[in-house]
Amino acid sequence: MFSLLGNNNSFAIESNCALSQLIDIAGFAEQTIAVAINGEFVPKSAYLSTTLKAADQIDIVKPIGGG
C-alpha cells in the first residue's frame, strides 16, 4: 500500500496497482481524458500494463477552452 499524487489529490493505492485501476478509483473511467506519468504521455493502450510506483506524479487532463 502506498499513496501517490494524482491531479494534486493523494490516493492510497495497492502495490503493483495498474494505471487503469487508479483511473477507476479516481472516478475518471467513463470520462474523456488523457494521462501523463511523471511528465511523460501514457497512451490509452498502456493503461492496463502500466504499473504505478510510489512517488509517481499522475496528470489526468480533460478538454477545456483555449486560445
Partner: protein, 273 residues
C-alpha cells in the same frame, strides 16, 4: 466564411483547404452557449482548445467537449502554459490521442511578463513534433530568423504574434511583420495573438497575411457574437483589399478629379500657390 469572400480563394494549411481565414479560440466566454453562438457567427472552421487537470467530479470538461463536437469545426489543440519542449511534446501527444487530430498549436512560453514564446525550446519542440507526424502551427514572435528556423524544421505555416497575448494592441511591429511576409512568401503566415479590433485584423490581411487567430477580442467584447461577425467581415475586407492590389503610397498630393476643364480658372491665374 463571410458571404463577401471569394469562393475560390481558399486558405491551404498542410494540404488541407479552408474557406474561412478566421481561427477562433474557445476560452473566456461568459457561457458555453455564447461561445457556440460566437463560433457560428465567426464562420470559423478551425477552433482552438486545450487540456487541463480537473477533478473527476467536475463535468465541465465533458460538457464542453460535447458542445465543441457539435460545432463540427476542425480542432486545433494548443500547448498553452508549457515552458519546455518536453512539456509541449507530451501535451501534444495527449491532445493527439484525446482529440484524434494531428494538428497542434505549439506554444512554449519563455517569459511570464509578456508570455513571449521561447524561441529555442520552440524550435526543438517543432522539430520533434514534425518528425512524429504532427501538423504544427507554431505560435512565435515576429523574429525573422526564428521563423526561418521553424520553416527549416518542417513547419508548413507559422503564427507570429501581432502583440502579446490578451493585450489587444494590434500589429505592434509592422516593419518586422512586413519583412517576414516579404522574406517568407511560400508558406501561410497567420497573425496569432494581440489583436483587439476588427480593423487590426483587416490590416493584417491587407499586409498579405493569410489568416488571423484570436480569442480575447471576441470573448471579452460586450457582444461577442456581434464582434465575431465584425472580425469575419474585416478579415474578408482585408483579404479582398490585398487581392485587389493596394495603390502605391505617395508623398505628395495628386488630385483625383481631372484638372482639365476646371471652372473659375481665371481667378487662379495670379495665385502663387
Amino acid at each position: 466564411m463571410d458571404s463577401n469572400a471569394r469562393k475560390d480563394d481558399l486558405l491551404t494549411l498542410y494540404d488541407e483547404q479552408f474557406s474561412s481565414r478566421f481561427l477562433l479560440g474557445t476560452a473566456l466566454y461568459r457561457s458555453p452557449a455564447e461561445m457556440c453562438d460566437a463560433i457560428k457567427a465567426s464562420g470559423s472552421e478551425f477552433i482552438t482548445l486545450s487540456l487541463r487537470r480537473q477533478n473527476p467530479q467536475q463535468n465541465d470538461g465533458d460538457a464542453f467537449w460535447q458542445m465543441i463536437k457539435e460545432t463540427k469545426c476542425k480542432l486545433l489543440p494548443n500547448t498553452a502554459g508549457c515552458r519546455s519542449a518536453k512539456e509541449a511534446i507530451n501535451l501534444a501527444e495527449m491532445s493527439r490521442e484525446l482529440f484524434a487530430t494531428p494538428w497542434i498549436k505549439l506554444e512554449v512560453i519563455g517569459d511570464d511578463y509578456n508570455l513571449q514564446p521561447d524561441p529555442f525550446e520552440l524550435v526543438i519542440a517543432a522539430t520533434e513534433l514534425i518528425k512524429r507526424g504532427f501538423k504544427v502551427l507554431p505560435y512565435c514572435t515576429d523574429d525573422l530568423v526564428l521563423c526561418l528556423r521553424l520553416q527549416d524544421a518542417g513547419c508548413q505555416a507559422l503564427m507570429p504574434w501581432g502583440a502579446p497575448i490578451g493585450t489587444g494592441q494590434g500589429l505592434l511591429n509592422k516593419y518586422h511583420l512586413n519583412s517576414l511576409r516579404e522574406r517568407i512568401s511560400n508558406i501561410p503566415l497567420i497573425i496569432d495573438a494581440g489583436l483587439g479590433s476588427p480593423s487590426q485584423a483587416a490590416a493584417a490581411l491587407e499586409m498579405g497575411y493569410d489568416a488571423v487567430l484570436l480569442n480575447t477580442a471576441v470573448a471579452k467584447a460586450d457582444n461577442p457574437v456581434l464582434m465575431a461577425r465584425a472580425f469575419s467581415q474585416a478579415i474578408t475586407a482585408g483579404r479582398n483589399g490585398y487581392l485587389a492590389g493596394l495603390m502605391q503610397r505617395r508623398q505628395t498630393a495628386s488630385p483625383s478629379t481631372p484638372i482639365l476643364g476646371q471652372p473659375f480658372w481665371q481667378q487662379h491665374q495670379g495665385d502663387k500657390s
